[in-house]
Structures are given as C-alpha cells and as structure tokens.
C-alpha cells in the first residue's frame, strides 16, 4: 500500500500564543494520538499536506508521517481524524491525526455518490439525499474512495435505504439498514407554499409580542397625530 509522505515537527509550546505564531509562520498546529500512545503535539506545513493528499481518497488518505528532526526521524502511519477550518478564510487552523495499524479496522466516513438520473426527477419530483457521506469501518487498505449507488429506478415517493448499498469486501457499514439514503419527493406547488407562509403569519400575529406591539404603536401613532400639541405641553411642564 502506498502512503502519502508528510513530515511533521514536534511542538513543545502549546496555547493560543504559540499556535498563532506558528500560523503566522505558515505552519499549522496539530496533534497525533491513538493506539494508547501518549498524544504528541506537532506542527506541519498545510500546503505540503494538501499536496500529498490522495486525489481520490482525499481525507481518507493514509499518511506516513515523519516525526522529529533529521537526527532521529520516526515513521508513523496515521490518518486525518479531524480538520478545523476557519469559517471565513477557509484556511486550515488545526489538524488531528490518529495513529492507525494496517491490520486493524478504523472508523471513517466515505462520500456517497448517486449515479444516474432518477425516473421521479424526470417526472417532476425533487431528489433528496439524506446522507452525503456514510460512516464505515474497514482496514486502511480496504477503505473505498467512494460508495456509489444507482438511483435510475427511483420514482416519486420511492426511497433507497442503507440496506440497498453494495459495499466492497472488507467494509462494514456503521448505519442501521432502515436509514433512508436518497428519496424522490413530489414538489410542493408555489401556491401551497404561499398558503403555508400566510398561516404562519396569522399565528405569529396572535401570539408574538412585536405583532401586538405594532398594533399598539399604530394606535399610539394615531393618538399622537390627533392631539400632538397637548401631550407636548404636558411633557414640557413635567420637564420643568
């Protein structure tokens, strides 16, 4: 099995100050844990990591991490467990690696691809995909790039379930068989949608504070318009 090679450096300092200095220097802090070994804080170059990712497996790439300096490098087989991404810059902020053994199963999520065009969609239905990625357990070498399922025969009102998935050998699904993966539902007419909104608006007026407040404000506004001068004089007297 081929591994993606990435070198990581040991990180001795922790906390947001050193982490920010690392990021400013173009590195990303990370942590390596698993297999009952003590967790190790590391830093790495995120660009090198993304370059080394398997184009098909992406997040499920198995890495051969080179830990430590040039003097005593240590080779560790690991996978990405979690990636923190900044909400706005979309840059990698932190990476979790988990040590893996090639002989043991590991839990990962694999993208689920729907192939073909459903009959129900051509008949005017809407395709709803319940699961975009499914959790599986497999040995690192047996992890598939993706799981495909044909939806051509799916008509309006039909659904495909987890039990319909055909998995490769050595892959165990971690979902219950009755979970729906994809379904084709009849579209809601625009008029129907408008009715639903109108009902919601009526309910809100009956219950919610701003609706009451708006009515009160409108009434208050009328009063103010009717006798604007008199309340103003009263206010002045009170002010004095």
């Amino acid at each position: 099995m081929d591994f993606a090679k990435v070198s990581v450096e040991l990180r001795t300092q922790s906390g947001k100050g050193p982490a920010r200095r690392n990021r400013a220097a173009g590195k990303v802090p990370g942590v390596l844990y698993g297999h009952k070994a003590a967790p190790v804080s590391v830093t790495l170059d995120p660009a090198a990591l993304i370059r080394s990712l398997d184009k098909d497996k992406k997040r499920n790439t198995v890495f051969a991490l080179t830990l430590g300096g040039k003097e005593a490098p240590e080779q560790i087989t690991a996978m990405i467990r979690d990636v923190q991404i900044h909400p706005i810059s979309r840059r990698v902020v932190h990476i979790d690696f988990i040590r893996v053994s090639l002989d043991e199963e590991i839990k990962v999520t694999v993208p689920l691809h729907l192939t073909g065009t459903a009959v129900g969609v051509t008949n005017g239905g809407n395709l709803h995909q319940g699961w975009h990625a499914v959790p599986i357990a497999a040995k690192p070498a047996a992890i598939p790039n993706k799981i495909e399922i044909d939806i051509t025969n799916l008509d309006v009102g039909d659904a495909l379930h987890v039990s319909d998935l055909k998995l490769p050998v050595g892959v165990r699904l971690l979902l219950e068989g009755k979970e729906a993966i994809a379904s084709v539902v009849a579209p809601r007419a625009e008029k129907e949608a408008e009715v639903v909104v109108a009902e919601g608006a009526v309910a809100a007026e009956g219950a919610a504070a701003p609706a009451e407040g708006a009515a009160a404000a409108a009434a208050g506004g009328d009063k103010a318009a009717a006798g604007a001068a008199a309340p103003a004089k009263k206010d002045d007297k009170k002010g004095k």
Binding site: L53, I85, P87, L127, V197, A204, P210, E212, A224
Partner: protein
C-alpha cells in the same frame, strides 16, 4: 413571516455583534450554501423576501433550508415622540447574524442555478454574503 410562537420577555437590549459565528459555518444539509461575511440584523421580512427570491428562481426543483431564525425583538418609539417615557414597542423580529454563518442551503439543483438564486437572495439581505459549496478538499 418567521417569528417566535411565544417569548418569555417582550423586549430585549440591543446587544453587541462581536466576533464570528459560533456554529453553522459550513454546508451541512444541502449541497450549496449562502454564507454571511459581515454581521448584522436580518429581519424576518428580509429572510422571507430572500426565500421567495430563491424559491421562485429554482421554480419547482430543489429543497431550501433556512438556517437562521429571527428570535430577537426590535423595539421602536412612535414618530414625533419625545425622549423618555420608557422603551418603545416591539416592531419586528431579527436574526443576529455574524460573519461565517451559513444562512441558506439548497439541494437538488445545479450549481449554476444555486449561484443565480443566491445572487438574487443576497440583494434582499442586510449582510455581505458569498456562495459556499460542500468542502471535500480535506
């Protein structure tokens, strides 16, 4: 329009909008999302206007998810009223949106159609936005 069914307190203080969104920063339910890049109050009218713009553009196809809810009452004093005499009456409901929040998600449509629909929707909202897809890079 969206509004809470009932509230414990009718009026709230204005509050501050510091920092970035605490959650809902990635596309989860659909395939494409509209993400806020600035902070602001998005009123229930704006949420509804954007929803109508999106649903009319995609016509019958696709499914829309709205991931913000206007749960903050905004009060306003009547016109030509002197200061004082207590806080004004609640006038509208707003959602407090911070940068990074994914406000709308679409599924079951092509990327082009989703981009066009969100482009129409962003003109209805009081915050800067950008188009976001599901992340499968890493």
């Amino acid at each position: 329009m969206l509004a809470p069914k009932k509230v414990k307190w009718r009026k709230q203080q204005k509050g501050k909008m510091r920092g970035i969104s605490k959650g809902a920063t990635s596309v989860v339910f659909g395939e494409y999302g509209l993400q806020a890049l600035s902070c602001g109050f998005v009123t229930s009218r704006q949420i509804e206007a954007a929803r109508i713009a999106i649903s009319r553009h995609v016509k019958r196809g696709g499914k829309l998810y709205i991931r913000i809810f206007p749960d903050k009452p905004i009060s306003k004093k009547p016109a030509e009223t002197r200061m004082g005499k207590g806080k004004g009456n609640p006038e509208e409901w707003v959602a407090v949106v911070r940068p990074g929040r994914v406000m709308y998600e679409l599924e079951g449509v092509t990327e082009d159609l989703a981009r066009q629909a969100f482009h129409l929707a962003e003109h209805k909202l009081a915050v800067q936005t950008r188009f976001l897809g599901r992340e499968d890079l890493i």
